[in-house]
Symmetry: C2
Subunit: 280 residues, 2 copies
């Protein structure tokens, strides 16, 4: 099950007809995952200096990574990592992973019915597959990317909402899988405060590594107690990590008063990525 | 001189091998401008719904539009105009215009030596060509785009620094050329307060139309009196326009305390474009 027998099915997307610096910003590849037992597509953005240099580039992995999200986050990275915005961050490869079964892959515990204070928030045919999805990343996708592209082992995980929950869970279960985490308005309301409950169990192992972590939270007070509690639990988790860290300066959190759960990603990418991959 | 004898030289760039919604986000075309007597390249981004619909799309024209800036601003637009960020703005075509001679095209008056309080800020071999460049836009580029692409006559001009000076000057000289203006930290220090001096001469004609206008200003106080005066004069210009407008709600200005002249563009695009092309 854990053999990384990846099969390259396709390698097409934005083909370029231009030269060097103007070349293909993104391609799409399809892999057969033995672990997930399905074909997974991923979009790959190569930074402007990728061709024509021998450098190794860090890699940003993006959950919920459909093509629009890839282009949006690539825009942020391209702006911040070129003279456009004064080279504030390093150029990076981006690997965006579209969903096939979102609730299955991004949630860390099985929860057919998700409730909060006896109120049903949602139901799921499948949930709790975060470990499997993480195994796919660890033993199939990341090795594939690191074999095929000129990248360093510096890896950033970006997740929003359920993707933020997944990123936070990865920080608890396997903190050294990534060197940086951008956790955007995570679903801290999941499974009766799952993140803080797990944190109590796992904190000794989390704190032996010191990845850079950037949390962002949105203003969801229009959702009433649900929104307020999600923020409270999320901020509690972030604060606990920071307080217990041997290097608190590597853990940041920022609240965006004027953004909601559905809009906060953009400012999170902007502020978070330049903090996680600052120019050297 | 004003005949729009455009010659299509090239039509290549990010060619797509994908289908429909994943198709080419950008192409590069080259035009021969009779007015400017040179070849001009422009990058064109088509939004996700361009293919497969009969809709007309607004057009965003971007000065200083090199490929990195095009990709960055396209990322902002793609994020804001899709479900990625809750469809906050309309999808739009983007036309980014790289420079050939920046000081010639984007400054509105001839100034071989640019001074402020007897201090020399810069010297230019060529300057004062804004009217010619505007004529290129009006009689060559815009008609070309409107013939060739499925676009509406709703046009937004985005300019930063000298490009912001150009956009502000266009607002004074030919306000109806664009329906919206995003003016990013404009060089209000140009030619001894050129913008406010011209405003006094032109305000009657400016105020007969009511384009949407969004000004952004950065914190350049680290530059001392030069930075402070540039902001003061720029904000004076913006406030004068707003106060005199028959529709003040269409004129916005926003100051970014944590951004400088070289970094403010990103937040300006984010906040400005969703204000200028809000979802309907």
């Amino acid at each position: 099950m854990y053999k990384s027998a990846l099969l390259l099915v396709l390698f097409v997307f934005w083909k370029t007809a231009g030269a060097s610096n103007e070349s293909s910003p993104a391609s799409k590849i399809s892999l057969h995952s033995t672990i997930l037992q399905e074909i997974r597509n991923v979009y790959i953005y190569l930074p402007p200096d990728y061709e024509g240099s021998d450098s190794l580039f860090p890699v940003i992995y993006v959950t919920d990574g459909d093509i629009h999200r890839l282009r949006a986050i690539a825009g942020v990275v391209e702006g911040l990592s070129t003279a456009t915005l004064e080279n504030q961050m390093r150029q990076a490869v981006i690997v965006a992973i579209p969903n096939t079964n979102r609730s299955r892959d991004l949630t860390p515990s099985v929860l057919p019915e998700w409730t909060f204070e006896n109120r049903k928030l949602d139901t799921f045919e499948q949930s709790g597959g975060a470990k499997q999805f993480r195994d796919f990343l660890k033993t199939e996708l990341v090795p594939y990317i690191e074999r095929r592209y000129r990248v360093s082992t510096e890896r950033i995980l970006v997740g929003e909402s359920f993707g933020g929950l997944f990123a936070a869970d990865t920080l608890l279960q396997q903190p050294d899988l990534f060197s940086g985490y951008l956790i955007i308005d995570p679903t801290a309301l999941w499974d009766d405060n799952y993140l803080n409950r797990q944190y109590e169990l796992k904190k000794e192992t989390v704190l032996t590594t010191s990845p850079r972590i950037y949390f962002t939270f949105a203003n969801n007070s229009h959702l009433g107690k649900i929104g307020l509690t999600n923020r409270k639990w999320g901020e509690r988790f972030a604060s606990a990590l920071k307080a217990a860290s041997s290097n608190p300066a590597r853990v940041s959190q920022r609240y965006f008063e004027d953004e909601t759960h559905g809009t906060v990603a953009f400012l999170a990418w902007y502020h978070g990525l330049r903090a996680l991959l600052p120019a050297e």
